[in-house]
C-alpha cells in the first residue's frame, strides 16, 4: 500500500494487523493491473471484493472506499454491488459463518428444517450474529453442490446431506 492513503486520513494510526490486510489487498489488486484498461476495471470488482471479504471478514466502509479508489469507481457503485449480492456483507460477522443453502435442490430436500434448527439452537435470526460474536447465520442461494443437497457451509467447509439432527454436531465441532 502506498504511503498516502487514498481513502482516509488516519493511516498513520492504523494497527499493523489491519495495515497488513490492506497491503495484501493492494498487492492482489496490483496483480490484476486494473489501470491497463480503465474501461474494464469494473470487471475486476467482484473478485476483488471476494478477496477483501476473505481478508477482513466483512467489507467495512474504509475497504469499500479503498477498492473504489483503486478501480477508479465511485464508492456508491461499489456499495451498490455489495448490496446486490447476498454473499457480501458490510457488517462484521461471527467467527464461524454458517450459511445454509436454500437453492432449489436444497430447498426441496429440506433446507428450511436445517435452517430452523440453527435458528433455534443459536437463538438468532437469518443474517444475524450471536451476541458472543462467535456464530453468523445466513442463507445462500445455490453453492453448486446440489448432489449433496441439502448443503451447509461453515466458513469454507462444505457439509453435505444435512439433517436437522446433524446441526448439534456441527456446532459442537466449531466449539472445539
Amino acid at each position: 500500500m502506498s504511503d498516502q492513503c487514498c481513502c482516509c486520513s488516519d493511516c498513520g494510526a492504523m494497527p499493523p494487523e489491519l495495515k497488513r490486510k490492506f497491503d495484501e489487498l493492494d498487492r492482489y489488486i496490483a496483480e490484476l493491473h486494473p489501470d491497463d484498461n480503465p474501461d474494464r476495471s469494473r470487471g475486476f470488482l467482484i473478485q476483488i471484493l471476494h478477496r477483501a471479504q476473505g481478508l477482513f471478514g466483512y467489507l467495512p466502509e474504509d475497504v469499500q472506499k479503498f477498492v473504489a479508489a483503486r478501480l477508479k469507481l465511485s464508492p456508491a457503485e461499489v456499495y451498490g454491488v455489495i448490496s446486490f449480492y447476498s454473499y457480501f456483507t458490510d457488517k462484521p460477522v461471527g467467527r464461524y459463518k454458517i450459511n445454509v443453502c436454500t437453492g432449489t435442490a436444497c430447498f426441496v430436500k429440506g433446507a428450511s428444517k436445517v435452517l430452523d434448527e440453527f435458528k433455534r439452537r443459536l437463538n438468532i435470526k437469518e443474517g444475524e450474529t450471536t451476541e458472543d460474536g462467535k456464530f453468523f447465520l445466513g442463507a445462500l442461494r445455490c453453492v453448486g453442490a446440489c448432489s449433496l443437497a441439502p448443503v451447509v457451509m461453515v466458513n469454507d467447509k462444505v457439509y453435505g446431506n444435512m439433517t436437522a439432527e446433524k446441526v448439534a454436531d456441527i456446532l459442537k465441532e466449531c466449539a472445539e
Binding site: 466502509e61 465511485s74 464508492p75 456508491a76 457503485e77 461499489v78 456499495y79 451498490g80 448490496s83
Partner: protein
C-alpha cells in the same frame, strides 16, 4: 451507411445504428418513453430500457422490442400501436403505478411529472393491480435536494446525471428486487456525502422522487414581518427562464415582468445579482492580472459556482489554491447589502433579510456555508429557485404575462451586459476578458464580443491578445468535463492562465432550480440566445463601467483587492477529502 425500414407502413431511411425510437421521431411518430433521457448537446444518453413503456411490435420478432434501445435493421417492419403493444404498455404502466403513491395533488412535481403525463396520455382511468408499496423515510438532510424514494420508479436517470455526466458518483442502485433503491453509499443521507447539490439529478428525475428543499414559506413569513427590511436579488439566468412557467415562449426575456411581480409580492427592494456579478469581475479580474503578472498560482479558476467549488474541495483538494478567492455574486451581494447598504439606509444588518432567487439548488447550500456570515448574521438568509419564485407568483394570484415591465431599484440593481451573460457557460470568462483587456490596454476597447467562449460545448478554449499579453483561457461546463480538464492540469498537459468552470452542463441556464426542460435542449439554446440578446441590448457592457460599482468603491471599498474588499468579498476553501479531526 443508411438503413431502410417501415414504421406503421410508412418508409423511412436512417443512419445505421439508429434506434427505432429515432427513426420514429423522423416520421413524427410519437412512441411513449419514460426512462429514456437524451441530451445531444451534452453527449448524454440514458438508455437503460428498464421501464419498457416504449415497446413496439417488430414483424418476425417473437417478443416486443423496446424502441429506445433496439437498433434498426434493413427491411424492418415496425408497428407502434398494435393491440399487443398497447396492452403491454398499459400493463407496464399499471404495474409502475401499483408501487407509486397517488398523492399527485401535493407532489412537488405535480403537472411537471412525466409519469402523470403518461397516465393521462394513455388514458388509464382505473388500476387493476393493487400491490405492495415501498416505504422509505424522506431524505431532507441537506438544505438543497429532497429525496422521496417512495416515488422513485427506478428509471435511474439520476444515476446517469450524477455518475456519467457529472462524475460526482454519489448515487447508485442499491439492493435488489422490490427493495432496490437509488441511494448513496451506505444509504447515507445526502448531506453526509460528496454530493455537490448541482441538482442535475432533479432535472433528470421524471417524477417527484427528487426535488428541491422548499423555502417558499420562510420567504412569505419574512415578507409579512413588519420589523424586517426584505431585499431580493435575482440571478442572471432566472430572467430568461421564469417566463416558461407562465406559458411564455422559451427564450423570452422577462426581466421587467419579474421585477414587477417581485414588487407585488411585497419585497421592500428589488435588486439584481447582476450588480454583484459586476463586482465579482472587479475583484476576480484584479486577482487574474496580479497572478498573471507575477506568474503564480496559475491557472486561476472561477469561483462563482458553489457546486463546482464543492466538487473541487472533495475531489481535487490539492488544487484548492487555484480558484479565485472572490466570493460568488450571490454571497457578495449579501455581504454588501448587510454592510454598505445597511449603513446607507440606517438599518441594522440583523433586521435585513436577503432573499436570493437562483436557477440553482447548490446556492441554497452555499448560503448556509459557515464562512458566509459576519457576527452571527448570515450574508444571504433564504434562497429560492426559479421554480419556487414562479410558484409564489402563482400563489399570490399575479397574472405574470399581463404585467407591465418595471426596473430594478437603485443602487444594487444597476448592472451591465457583462453581468447578465454570467448565466451562460463562458459568460464569466467573457466578462472578465472585457475588463482585463481594457485595464491592460488602458483604453476603452470596442472589440468586446469574445465569441470563441460562447456556446454549449463542454470544453472551449481561446487565446486572447490583450496589450502585450497573450492570455490562454478555457471554459468548461459539466463536472465530468471539469474533471477531464483538472486531470490534464495535474499531469502538466494544460497550460492556461484562466479557466471558467460551471457545474451544470451549459452553465446556470441549465441549473437544477430552473423550470424543468425534460431533456428538450432547444429550450436551453433559446435561454442562452436570450442572455446574449440581453447583453447586446444594454447600454453598458463592461463591469468596471457600472456607475454604481464605481461609486461603491469610491464611497466604501476603496480599490479592488483592498483590505476592506478582502474582508467582505473574499473567502477560503476547505479540503473535504482529508477533514480535520
Amino acid at each position: 451507411m443508411n438503413v431502410n425500414l417501415k414504421i406503421n407502413d410508412r418508409p423511412v431511411t436512417v443512419e445505421a445504428g439508429s434506434t427505432i425510437l429515432e427513426a420514429a421521431e423522423k416520421l413524427d411518430i410519437k412512441i411513449p418513453t419514460l426512462c429514456h433521457f437524451k441530451m445531444d448537446c451534452f453527449h448524454m444518453e440514458h438508455r437503460s430500457a428498464s421501464c419498457r413503456i416504449c415497446v413496439v411490435e417488430v414483424k418476425g420478432r417473437p417478443n416486443l422490442a423496446p424502441a429506445c434501445s433496439t437498433p434498426v435493421m434493413e427491411g424492418m417492419e415496425v408497428k407502434t400501436n398494435t393491440l399487443r403493444a398497447i396492452n403491454a404498455r398499459r400493463t407496464i404502466l399499471d404495474l409502475l403505478l401499483s408501487d407509486h403513491p397517488k398523492d399527485c395533488l401535493t407532489c412537488p412535481k405535480n403537472l411537471n411529472c412525466q409519469l402523470q403525463e403518461l397516465a393521462q396520455e394513455m388514458g388509464l382511468h382505473h388500476l387493476l393491480f393493487k400491490g405492495e408499496q415501498s416505504t422509505y423515510n424522506k431524505d431532507l438532510s441537506s438544505n438543497a435536494i429532497a429525496r422521496d424514494l417512495d416515488k422513485c420508479i427506478m428509471c435511474r436517470r439520476c444515476e446517469t446525471a450524477c455518475n456519467s455526466v457529472q462524475t460526482v458518483g454519489v448515487l447508485s442502485g442499491v439492493g435488489r428486487g422490490f427493495k432496490a433503491v437509488v441511494a448513496p453509499a451506505g444509504l447515507r443521507p445526502l448531506a453526509e456525502t460528496e454530493c455537490v447539490f448541482c441538482g442535475q439529478c432533479v432535472q433528470a428525475c421524471p417524477v417527484g422522487a427528487l426535488s428541491e428543499i422548499d423555502y417558499k414559506y420562510p420567504v412569505w413569513r419574512a415578507l409579512n414581518d413588519p420589523g424586517k427590511t426584505v431585499v431580493v436579488q435575482t440571478a442572471p439566468a432566472v430572467r430568461v427562464a421564469i417566463g416558461e412557467s407562465f406559458g411564455l415562449e422559451p427564450g423570452s426575456i422577462s426581466t421587467g415582468k419579474m421585477v414587477a411581480a417581485l414588487r407585488m409580492l411585497g419585497f421592500d427592494k428589488v435588486f439584481d445579482t447582476d450588480f454583484a456579478a459586476d463586482l465579482t469581475i472587479m475583484e476576480e479580474t484584479t486577482e487574474l492580472i496580479e497572478r498573471v503578472k507575477n506568474n503564480r498560482d496559475l491557472p486561476i479558476l472561477t469561483s462563482c459556482c458553489p457546486g463546482w467549488v464543492k466538487f473541487l474541495e472533495h475531489q481535487f483538494p490539492e488544487l484548492i489554491y487555484m480558484p479565485s478567492t472572490a466570493k460568488s455574486p450571490q454571497q457578495m451581494f449579501g455581504a454588501i447589502t448587510k454592510s454598505y447598504y445597511a449603513q446607507k439606509i440606517g438599518v441594522a444588518p440583523e433586521n435585513i433579510v436577503v432573499v436570493s432567487v437562483m436557477p440553482c439548488l447548490a446556492k441554497k447550500y452555499e448560503a448556509s456555508r459557515e464562512e458566509f456570515s459576519r457576527n452571527g448574521v448570515r450574508d444571504v438568509d433564504i434562497v429560492i429557485s426559479t421554480r419556487e419564485l414562479a410558484d409564489m407568483i402563482r400563489e399570490a394570484g399575479i397574472q405574470f404575462d399581463q404585467l407591465d415591465e418595471e426596473t430594478y431599484d437603485s443602487p444594487l440593481g444597476e448592472s451591465t451586459g457583462a453581468a447578465v451573460i454570467f448565466g451562460a457557460t463562458g459568460g464569466v470568462l467573457e466578462a472578465a476578458l472585457r475588463t482585463a483587456a481594457d485595464w491592460i490596454a488602458g483604453e476603452d476597447l470596442q472589440e468586446i464580443d469574445f465569441k470563441a467562449v460562447r456556446g454549449l460545448e463542454g470544453i472551449k478554449e481561446a487565446t486572447v491578445k490583450v496589450g502585450g499579453l497573450e492570455l490562454k483561457a478555457a471554459v468548461c461546463s459539466g463536472l465530468g468535463n471539469a474533471r477531464k480538464l483538472l486531470e490534464k492540469i495535474k499531469r502538466g498537459e494544460a497550460n492556461y492562465h484562466a479557466i471558467e468552470i460551471m457545474a451544470c452542463p451549459g452553465g446556470c441556464l441549465n441549473g437544477g432550480g430552473q423550470p424543468y426542460h425534460h431533456g428538450d435542449t432547444t429550450i436551453l439554446e433559446k435561454r442562452m440566445e436570450a442572455l446574449y440578446r440581453a447583453d447586446a441590448g444594454l447600454p453598458i457592457r463592461k463591469s468596471h463601467q457600472n456607475p454604481s460599482i464605481q461609486k461603491l468603491y469610491e464611497e466604501f471599498l476603496g480599490e479592488p483587492g483592498s483590505h476592506c474588499a478582502h474582508t467582505l468579498l473574499h473567502t477560503t476553501y476547505i479540503d473535504r477529502k482529508h477533514p480535520k479531526k
